[in-house]
């Protein structure tokens, strides 16, 4: 006789991700976020780590459109 198994209905409350698992990723992620946002949004504007204007000119349109101060 063939038996059919039914999937149990999902009615469970969402289980939180343990904070201990989140913290190391959060620290790393936020650091990386700051570095990336700096290069897209501010490098070679008010401050410059790399000399010249190449980074600024390359991301120029994105910088204006994403709302960062430019020029």
């Amino acid at each position: 006789m063939a038996t059919a198994t039914l999937k149990p209905a999902v009615a469970v409350a969402p289980v939180p991700v343990p904070l201990k698992a989140v913290v190391p990723w959060a620290v790393f992620g936020v650091l990386l976020f700051i570095v990336v946002l700096y290069f897209v949004g501010a490098e070679q504007g008010a401050t410059a780590l790399v000399s010249g204007h190449a980074v600024h000119e390359f991301v120029h349109d994105g910088r204006h459109l994403l709302g960062f101060p430019c020029h």
Binding site: P14, V22, G29, L66
Partner: protein, 239 residues
């Protein structure tokens, strides 16, 4: 490893959202950028200034440059979004992954883009003095930080009063507190008013409209996309 999967999926959803935002920007925003640059060139010609050398061609700026900036921005916000999502899911909210992702994307868009943009709206080329870039950059990032911190305070207060006031009232209180904090603190930051007197108002308006549209596309796609991806990790039985 669940957190690693949630984070990488956030960045993936961010990149996907950025690609859509890039397409939107190419169609709606780039014409306005070009008009603003034409105004800038006309002003320079009137003042008998020699044209600035083009380090990066306009084609590259509007193509690979815009794509790179948007994708990096999307991946960065996607990653942070995934971290915030992982803290909120099941802890401050009982919503399922898909609903929570969309809600949270709307909140993040308000906190990270719309509210800072009310004080310091996006400006096209030719708007803004080179001499004030230091002050403007500092003020912009402080405004961004103020908005993030005020939102955190609003969230903490709302959670604190939830048992006493009930969820609904506590959340209203948190949002009101956020609005009051942001309004009060941003009043302390300098106002920037550097639009040239004869800059075409139409171009400024259309530019800001399309910059806002680009962000709405990005955050809507991030919320919808991440919801689907996170659901497969957190609620495999439902997906």
């Amino acid at each position: 490893m669940m957190m690693g999967r949630l984070l990488s999926r956030g960045m993936l959803a961010g990149v996907f959202a950025a690609l859509l935002a890039f397409v939107f920007a190419r169609v709606f925003a780039e014409p306005q950028v070009n008009l603003a640059i034409a105004y800038e060139a006309a002003q320079a010609a009137l003042a008998n200034e020699p044209p600035e050398p083009e380090l990066v061609s306009r084609g590259v700026q509007a193509g690979w440059g815009l794509l790179t900036a948007t994708v990096l921005y999307g991946a960065a916000y996607g990653g942070v979004f995934a971290i915030v999502f992982s803290c909120v899911y099941g802890r401050f909210s009982r919503l399922g992954a898909r609903s929570l992702a969309l809600w949270l994307a709307a909140v993040c868009c308000v906190v990270a883009v719309i509210v800072p943009g009310l004080k310091y709206p996006p400006n096209p080329p030719a708007v803004g003095n080179t001499e004030t870039i230091g002050v403007r950059t500092a003020a912009y990032f402080i405004m961004l930080g103020l908005s993030f911190c005020s939102a955190m305070i609003g969230l903490v207060i709302a959670r604190h009063y939830a048992p006493r006031l009930g969820n609904w009232n506590a959340n209203v209180l948190g949002v009101l507190l956020y609005g009051a904090l942001v309004a009060g603190l941003s009043a302390l930051l300098p106002d920037v008013s550097e639009v040239p007197a004869d800059f075409p108002a139409q171009v400024l308006w259309r530019f800001r409209e399309s910059a806002l549209g680009m962000q709405l596309v990005l955050w809507a796609a991030l919320g919808l996309g991440y919801g689907v991806l996170a659901e497969r990790v957190l609620e495999p039985a439902r997906a």
